[in-house]
């Protein structure tokens, strides 16, 4: 793996963009859960 990435350095850039992308997605998923909980609580109130 290390050798491959060292030979094909463009893939390092790919991994790095994917890391950032996964961070943003993780944040969105958590936010989605939070909003879902709020919706549930709202429904209970009605």
């Amino acid at each position: 793996m290390y050798e491959f990435l060292n030979q094909n350095q463009l893939y390092i850039v790919l991994v790095i963009t994917m890391l950032i992308w996964s961070g943003i997605i993780w944040y969105l998923v958590r936010l989605d859960q939070k909003v879902g909980q709020i919706e549930k609580r709202l429904k209970k109130d009605e």
């Binding site: 390092i12 850039v13 963009t17 936010l31």
Partner: protein
């Protein structure tokens, strides 16, 4: 807000495409060619992603400072929500900058972690803001939590520019812009970038900053709803 959303999507999409697709050649002749930077080669493209992420983490901490200050002035809990949301975003981007930087370091400097001044300072920043969230979760009442964390976020936010912009420049290190490095003496860590790389780089900075504003806006709206609900239920 709608403009911000579309602009951030457009900027980041542009940076991903331009940053990866533009070929690197030894002697660039046109705007659609990047020069090969010795020692970095293709890895130079990481600048377009790693540096804006680090920049956004500073932005998050500075926004947390500003809203903490506004909270103390107005005692309006809305500012507390804004403050903690931007600190959370800053923390997330700080972790991303650490992880991406660490991977890049493995291939450029031979090891995932080198205790380079900039690595050391981002590590300390992570500790400082880790303590911020620990502090918040330890306090029960809304007002006390808001007041204490506003004070903490001001103190912590004041150290952030020092750790990110000043400390890594005073001592010698591996990052560009460290002491003794004559090539990169510009504000954020960068190399002597040719104009076309610089354009892509700054569009990246703008795109990620706008993404931050967008994420912060959604996060704050969720926090507001949650607060209103808990007030109604009690």
């Amino acid at each position: 807000m709608r403009l911000i959303k579309y602009l951030s999507i457009a900027c980041i999409t542009f940076v991903i495409i331009a940053g990866i697709a533009i070929p690197m050649v030894p002697q660039p002749q046109s705007w659609l060619e990047f020069p090969i930077i010795p020692g970095l080669e293709e890895k130079a493209r990481n600048i377009f992603f790693h540096v804006p992420v680090a920049w956004v983490s500073v932005l998050g901490f500075l926004f947390a400072l500003y809203y903490g200050f506004r909270y103390l002035r107005t005692k309006d809990l809305d500012y507390d929500m804004k403050s903690v949301s931007s600190a959370g975003l800053g923390m997330m981007f700080c972790i991303l900058a650490t992880v991406t930087g660490s991977l890049w370091a493995k291939f450029n400097w031979g090891s995932f972690w080198n205790w380079d001044p900039r690595e050391t300072s981002i590590f300390i920043l992570l500790l400082i803001y880790g303590a911020y969230f620990a502090l918040r979760s330890a306090l029960g009442s809304d007002e006390v939590r808001a007041r204490l964390s506003a004070v903490y976020s001001i103190l912590a936010g004041l150290t952030a520019p020092f750790f990110i912009f000043i400390m890594p420049r005073i001592v010698g290190g591996l990052h560009p812009g460290a002491k003794g490095d004559t090539a990169g003496s510009t504000p954020v860590a960068q190399l002597h970038m040719p104009p076309n790389m610089r354009v892509v780089f700054f569009i990246g900075i703008i795109g990620f900053s706008l993404l931050f504003v967008w994420l912060l806006n959604v996060r704050v709206r969720a926090a507001r709803l949650e607060y209103q609900l808990s007030k109604k239920e009690n």
